[in-house]
């Protein structure tokens, strides 16, 4: 069994409530931080831990924290990004609904480190039922002196609130999230200024993912060095992986980074192999945005070694033959799955979720969806495949926020690794009865 840092007490009955959580060592990091450490010392531990943002970008958390501006007399905010919407990702939902106090604890300890006046947990609207779970946990933390004025007699004042969204993937982009939290449409802001300088209400703000915030708890409890000793190289610590698709045991697994991809897919401790004894065809390893890889490339690196579940190993080979760890949304496809049809669900997703600010993304995502629909519907031509390639290449790097890239990469990688499958669809219209029709697309086809 690998080391568990976030889900160590997941199996304990009643861990959702304050008493049981506390009896199992809960809120020790708050006690340790506010009573025995300076805020800067907490930041130092997080830097030493090597923790990287678990929302998808993998940016070093301690460094992000050290960028926070601290002008005198100006409020500072810590915002937790619980807008988990990347297709294939459901780890934050799992963590918040089962061990809500680890997020509350992490928000307090991190808030102390940053000198924040208040913290907000921005949770996606579809997770409505988790709002009251979090609110209850927060209420218990207040009742026990871990939130509010003069926390544990330390003089640290800090309030924590939950803010519910209303269904918009784009609000997982941190500046769109801040716009949404201010009661506006979720349009990403142009950076700079970065939130660390001018974030929520124009004040210095740090935005971190749920899992990142939760990881601060074991880091402060056991020290940054102990955390860095777990995992492999620059992929320190554990990672929650959301495993779904054609596997025997879908679910959320906390893995020590550095286990092999093969082990993750086939061992009984994790996914338990491919469903119905079928063969592995492809994997989307880190949520819908990351490049899809065929079986041989996901299992082995370009140099022929076993690929590992780590930021570096998954990226080995660049986009030519590698992918990314991303948010850890691990979608497995067996030999019967159609890469083109799967891609159509992604393209439709990005078209639906584009905020519409930047033309390349607003127009490009729509065209990619329409062309894929056209191919699936039996009207595709070989030129369409080239057009698809061209459109994605013109979106990538040409938008305010990374949604454009996220929409382009799945298309590029599917064509790069599975071009023959696209050509099959063009050549053989017998494959083409499965696509569902949607009004907007029907108009294009009949036009």
């Amino acid at each position: 069994m690998g080391k568990k840092l976030l889900l160590a007490y997941d199996h304990v009955p009643g861990i959702k409530g304050f008493e049981v959580y506390r009896a199992n060592g809960g809120y020790k990091s708050v006690e340790k931080a506010v009573k025995t450490m300076s805020p800067d010392a907490v930041v130092e531990e997080v830097k030493k831990s090597g923790l990287r943002g678990r929302g998808g970008a993998g940016f070093p958390t301690g460094m992000k924290w050290s960028f926070l501006a601290k002008p005198e007399g100006v409020a500072r905010y810590l915002v937790c990004n619980a807008d988990e919407s990347e297709p294939g990702t459901f780890k934050d939902r799992y963590l918040m609904s089962r061990i809500p106090h680890i997020l509350v604890e992490g928000m307090i300890t991190s808030g102390f480190a940053l000198g924040a006046t208040a913290g907000y947990i921005y949770i996606r609207g579809e997770y409505f039922y988790i709002v009251s779970i979090l609110e209850k946990a927060i209420e218990e933390a207040y009742a026990n002196g871990f939130l509010g004025k003069n926390i544990l007699g330390s003089g640290f004042n800090y309030d924590l609130y939950v803010h519910v969204g209303a269904g918009a993937y784009i609000c997982g982009e941190e500046t769109a999230l801040l716009e949404s939290l201010e009661g506006k449409r979720g349009n990403p802001r142009i950076k700079p200024p970065f939130p660390a300088i001018a974030g929520l209400y124009g004040c210095p703000t740090v935005v971190n993912n749920v899992e990142t915030i939760a990881a601060v708890v074991p880091i402060i409890n056991d020290g940054g060095e102990a955390y860095a000793a777990v995992g492999i190289g620059k992929s320190a610590g554990t990672k929650l992986i959301s495993a779904s698709g054609h596997i025997n045991k879908p679910g959320v697994y906390e893995i020590e980074m550095g286990i092999t991809v093969e082990d993750f897919i086939y061992s009984d401790e994790y996914c338990g192999g491919i469903k119905n004894g079928k063969k592995l065809k492809a994997v989307v390893a880190g949520g819908s945005s990351v490049p899809i890889l065929p079986a041989d490339k996901i299992l082995t690196t370009p140099s022929g070694e076993k690929r590992l579940m780590s930021y570096e190993s998954l990226a080995d080979g660049g986009f030519a033959s590698g992918t990314m760890l991303g948010s850890g949304g691990f979608i497995v496809m067996d030999e019967t799955a159609s890469v083109v049809e799967n891609l159509h669900t992604f393209a439709r997703f990005y078209h639906h979720e584009s905020c519409g600010q930047c033309s390349p993304c607003r127009e490009g995502t729509g065209w990619m969806e329409k062309i894929l629909h056209k191919i699936l519907d039996g009207h595709g031509t070989m030129e369409d495949i080239e057009l698809l390639w061209e459109i994605q290449s013109k979106i990538e790097g040409n938008t305010i926020c990374p949604l454009g890239d996220a929409a382009a990469w799945p298309v590029a990688s599917a064509i790069r690794h599975f071009r023959s499958e696209f050509e099959e669809y063009v050549k053989n219209s017998n494959n083409l009865k499965k696509v569902r029709h949607y009004d907007s697309v029907n108009q294009l086809v009949s036009a």
Partner: protein, 185 residues
Amino acid sequence: MLKIEPMENEVKFNSESLAVIEKIVARYPDGKHKSALIPVLHLAQAEFEGWLSPAAMDEVARVLNLKPIEVYEVASFYTMFNLNPVGKCLIEVCRTSSCWLRGANEIVEHIEKKLNIKDGETTADGMFSLKTVECLGSCGTAPMMMIGAQFHENLTYEKVDTILDSCKTENKRKTYFDNVNIEHY
């Protein structure tokens, strides 16, 4: 032809909602009450029959002291806000990758046949609306659908039938606040 609406707004939050709204506004710094907009729109949608009519949005603008356009532009951006009437039970079926891989299309088609409506439509008795939606973060328990705040996971045709039949028997409007303690909103 342009229809002139009467100035008087018939739609008013009840006193319970107004108390909740006051509590929500208090979460944000002075003068930042606009932050309460999305949480308050959710309340409005739940109280005013599952959708945000122009009158309901005007009421939100009134209680939050915002311009109506500030409310419209936000309400129209977010997927969970319905700008048209919906049935008592809005069935939201996830259609993205992992759910698709495990049979979401077949579930949608099953519901379409059972209720005799298409995606985006409402049954004649106003009981059900069907909407296919993007990833709801339930990929490990796919296929899934959401009715109100409730996730229904690992769906089969039989399971869908049981759930929809019990919705019909219950004959109650489902909202995102179902099973949510309003004290904890």
